[in-house]
Structures are given as C-alpha cells and as structure tokens.
Amino acid sequence: MAKTTPANRSVGWIGLKRGHRANPIEWCLERLIFLVSLTAILMILLIFLFIGREALPVALGRVNTALVQKTIPVSDLDKLSESQLSDYLGLTHDQFASMDRDTLRTLMELKAESVHEGSSNQDAALNTASWSCLVRPHQWSGYPRPEFIWQPVGEIPKYNLVPLIIGSLKVSVVALVFSVPLALAAAIYVAQMARPRIREVAKPVIELLAGIPSVVLGFFALIVMASALHGLFGYPSRLNALVAGLALGVSVIPVVFSIAEDALTSVPRSYVQAALALGASRWKAAWQVVLPAALPGVFAAVALGFGRAIGETMIVLMASGNASIVSWNFLDSTRTITATIAAELGEVVFSSPHYRILFLIGVLLFIVTFLTNLVADLVMHRLKSELEGKR
C-alpha cells in the first residue's frame, strides 16, 4: 500500500510548483508573470545585440575608409558578389536590398570619382578604421611625429581611440582620488562611530547627494567651479580633467558611501562589541576590526564607483573641455569616451564608419562596466557567503 510519492510535484514550468489544478485564468496569469520576468534578461541581450551589431563591421575590420582604394571598374558591377559590393560601397544588407541595379551603378561611379579627387594626400590609401589605426600611433602627413589622434571630421578621418581612453581614465582617476577617501572615511564615521542620532541625520543627507542629476553637477562645474578654480590657480584651460574630475567625484561619493556604509554595518555587531570589551576605542575597533572584515564590500564599493565614473556622460560633456588630445597633464582639456558618443552621434550619417566606430566605443564602455559590475558582484557574493559561514 505504501508507495514512494515525491511531495514536490512540479506541474509544468520551471519553479512553478502547484500540486493542484489551477483554473485557466490563474494558469495564464502565472505564465505571464514568468514571461514578463524574462524582460531583464531580454534587455541585456538586446543591448549587447543591437550595439554590437552596429559595431561589428569595424571590429571585424570590414570597414574601409581609405580614400584611395582599389577601385573596381563600373563595368565589373555584375562580377561582384553581393557581400563584396556592399562592402565596397559601404552599404548594409537592408540598404543594398532596397537598391536596384541602376542605383548601384550610379553609386559605383560616384565612388570612382571621389577616389580620384582625394589621391593627393599621402594618407589617402590608409584604412583609418583598421585596428592598427584605432589603437596604434601613426605618423600622419603634416605631423612631425607619430601621434594618437581622434579627429573624425576632415579629409582623412582619424579614429584613434587612445586619446579617448586616456581621457576617460584621467577624469575617472581624479574623481576616484577625490571621492574614495572622502566617502570611505565618512562611511566609517557614520557606520561605526557616530552616535545613533547623528547617524540618522547624516546618512540620509549624504545619500541625498545621489539625488542631484548629473546635468546639474555638470552645470555647476561649468558655470561655477570652472571659473572659481581658474581664478584661483590660473592654469591655461578653464575646462579640464581636474574640474570635470572633481564634479564627477561629487557624483561618485554617494555610490561609494552607500555601499561601503552597508558593508560596514553588515559586519556582525559581536565583533565590535568584543573589541570594545577588550578596551579598544571606537576608532581602533572600526579601523582594526570592522574595516578588515568589511574589506570585500569596500572593494566592491570602489569598483562600482569606478564603473559609475567611467560611464558618466553629462558632467564630462559639459566640463572637461572636449579636446581629444593625448596628455597626462590633468590641467589640460580632455575628452572622454562618453562625451565623444554624446557629442558626435547626433551628427553622423547612419551606418557610416564614424557611426560604427562610435558604437564600437560604446561596446567598449559597456564591456568595461559589465566586467566591473561582475567583479563587484562576485566579491559581494563571496562576502555574503563568508558572513554566513559557508566558507
């Protein structure tokens, strides 16, 4: 009579245990809830897909911006395959499909003409969208030395990514150097050392900083900070990495503060009480016991702060000066990846090499922040397991 009956019968879908017959409306609703909860995954995948799709031709080296290319005589129109022809003319699949033979012929003629016009320049035969031009310095005609140059507008568009990467890094470094010590110190104070009543006021007020939109911080940096600092120190460019970095730091402070403060508060109170009972002062307990215990969380806070700094757009767009030069001087005007995308996307021709390269740097940015988040997540996960005694 006794038989083995597993108690958790999964009727149907993943994770939807029931064990009874649901009426059809309920069944539909539960399925709907499940499907909708896939939205987050779907969105991440779509972001990858759609940004990657625009950037892919450049990444694969299939975009050729050289003015002088081996021209294919118009009479060879029929000898080329579809993919060769669309590459040569720089068309997407959809655009190609919508054109008839006469249009293609006209395009080829135009291309042959433009190629001849541009051949006076020494760099005319260079594919400026190739990976070697994107990352390595090049000796351009008219320049004394090999340089990294991002200058997409001009006869020979130059797409080197290095000035942009350096610009992003410079500004982020300034932001982190300014904000991390400040935010961490404040977090230690609020989490461990302030009296409860002070804590109740200080924590929300500091977190209120997160409520300031970045365009307002950019405005503040541009209109107030830039002039103030310029008047104070008198360096050449009014808008530079320092000004933008400081304003960026202000926006990073609440991020680092919140996460670090959370991490410090999650350290079991028993640790602190044990230290205090042994005669340590609040500071010593915080510095020697709590901080080391919360180190993974603090690390995650800094990582996320970095992710935030590198991905921020409006502040740097408004306050960094937007000169895409390679310089390690923090007082020079600089341009970041994010500002470049924001400033130039509105003016590019759809599907042009410039357009695609902007998407390429967008992909780069996405990957960097994705990895930063992943690392921070893993670290926090480890922290949680350690606190729960699983390791």
Partner: protein, 320 residues
C-alpha cells in the same frame, strides 16, 4: 564621607597617555562626513541663491515666449510638461514589468537555482549600464529597429517615417529599461519584508498561490512598490544622456500631441543652454532658475520616497 580609596580608583581608570591615533581617526572621519555635507550644501545653496529670485509661478506655467533667453519673459512650461510626460509614460511601462519580475523572484522562483541567478545577474548588470549606452541602445533598437518596423507595418506602401525617428515613446521606453532594476529591487525588498506567516495562513485556508499573492501579499507591498516607482521617477527625471538621441528637442513650437512627437525637456534644456548659448552672462539667471526647478522636482520626489519607505518600514514592524 568619601571612601579612602576614591582618588586612587579614579586614577586607576584613567589612560596613561592621550590616544592620538584614535582622536585623529575620529576627527578625520567626522570631518570627511562634514565635508561631504558641506559640498552638498554649497551646491544647493548656490543654486537656490541664484535661482530663487527669478522663480515665479509665471516662469513655470508659461511657454517660451518671444525671447527664449530672457528669464523675465520666458517660461519653461513646455519643458516641465515634456519631462512629466516622459516620466509618466515610463512609469506605465516599467511598473508592470518590474513588479511581475519581483513577484516571480520572490514567490515562485526556486532559491539558488541557476536560472534565478541568471535573472538576478541580468538585473544587476542592467543597473550598471552607463546612461549613454542606454542612449545608444534607445537609438539603435527603439528608434531604428522597432520604430522602422512599426512604420513598415503600419504604412507598407508609403514609406512614411512616423515612428522611426526620435519620439516621446522611445525616450520613455529607454528610460523604462534603465529604471527597471530600481523597481525590481525595491519591490522585491517590500515583498520579502512581508512575514511568511501571512502567506501560510492564507494557503492553509485553501487559497491558491496566486490568490495569496494578489489578495494578501501585494496589497501589503503597495507602499513599497510606490517607493520604487517614485525613486525611479526621480532618477529618470534628471537623466539627459538617454534622451539625447531618442526624443529630446531644444525647441518645439507646440507641445507634443502624440507619442511619436519629440518633446522639450528640463535637463536637456539646461544642457543646451549651458553649452551652446551665445551669451553666457545673459543666460545665467535663466539657467539657474531652470536648474532650480529641475532640482526641486527630483529632490522633492526623492524625499517623498524616503518618507514613504520609512512609513512602510514602521508599518511592517507592527506586523512582526
């Protein structure tokens, strides 16, 4: 009469020498907190100081008038309406998706299954995507792909471009994707705070899981969901990068009539005025006042959210 050992016992518990390290540590960290608060107050103070004099009901309620740069004549009503419109549409889009996901994660998903972790990973990553990348996504996916597709489907023979360009709908959709994690996380938090005993009582009375969720759990979670919505709105109201290419315009003669129109926006206006206005001294007062309005909007929402959250926590503690 004092005890004979009183002076000795007091001395016994006094420190041998002053603890400089602890003093310095406490002082430095307290100073850091103070400095941050000072920065906040400086920024807010400066904006209020310069923006308040020109703030008036007329400013907020009239259109741009003849001279867009004169703070005494122009108004920012179109921008306020544009921002409000996109935020409302965003909320309509994001709330169902966010709440449904949170319900799935809390009530239905098996803890620690790989699938649940993938969803959570996706939510976390969505939270970390830079705002300009959302702008790119909005332009590449919503405007170009969905918009063009919609145009092709709705007017196959005429090749009209109605939806395949920057529009209110696409900007709102982009922002909805951006604020999805906020809504999911706050809703989940409020669902988890509801004691398990309530669910058990409902199930023991013969309710199905869905009935329990809709009749007992969700009504309790409404304030928490509200907090999430308000937070999302406050964050989205100030964002400019995602709407740069998906719908914001510097000047529109009319208010947007439909979802496929472009719109004016407070933050975008501040950006354009700051960087492209011809005479910065003339536009400065206008800028300050516009910024003040934007700040009031986002801050007020933020503070409301904080209060609602605190009230929710207090009410839930009553339940325990």
């Amino acid at each position: 009469m004092t005890s004979p050992h009183s002076s000795d016992s007091r001395a016994r518990f006094r420190a041998a020498r002053f603890d400089w390290a602890s003093f310095a540590g406490e002082a430095t960290t307290a100073l850091a907190a103070l400095l941050i608060i000072a920065i906040l107050l400086i920024i807010l103070g400066d904006i209020i100081l310069h923006g308040l004099p020109n703030l008036s009901w007329r400013f907020v309620s009239t259109g741009t008038g003849s001279d867009m740069f004169d703070v005494r004549q122009t108004g920012i009503l179109p921008m306020v309406l544009g921002t409000t419109a996109r935020v409302i549409i965003m909320t309509i889009l994001v709330l169902p998706a966010g709440v449904a996901t949170a319900i799935y994660l809390t009530e239905y998903a098996r803890l620690n299954s790989p699938f649940t972790r993938v969803i959570r990973g996706a939510v976390n990553n969505l939270a970390g995507v830079p705002s300009i990348v959302f702008g790119l996504f909005g332009a590449g996916f919503f405007v170009r792909f969905v918009g063009r597709g919609l145009d092709a489907a709705l007017s196959p023979h005429q090749a009209l471009t109605v939806w395949g360009q920057p529009a209110l709908l696409w900007a709102s959709a982009t922002l909805a994707v951006m604020t999805l994690p906020v809504v999911i996380v706050t809703t989940e938090e409020s669902l988890r705070a509801i004691p398990q005993g309530l669910r058990e009582a409902s199930l023991a009375l013969g309710a199905s899981k869905l009935e329990t969720v809709f009749k007992i759990v969700l009504p309790q979670a409404v304030p928490g969901i509200l907090t999430g919505a308000i937070l999302a709105v406050s964050r989205a109201a100030g964002e400019v990068a995602p709407i740069l290419f998906t719908g914001a315009a510097y000047y529109m003669a009319d208010l947007p009539h439909s979802l496929h129109d472009q719109f004016m926006d407070l933050g975008y206006h501040v950006f354009i005025l700051s960087t492209q206005a011809p005479n910065i001294d003339q536009t400065r007062p206008l800028l300050y006042t516009t910024v003040l309005v934007l700040l009031v909007l986002t801050f007020a929402l933020n503070i409301v959210a904080i209060f609602v959250r605190a009230a929710v926590r207090r009410r839930l503690r009553l339940l325990q």
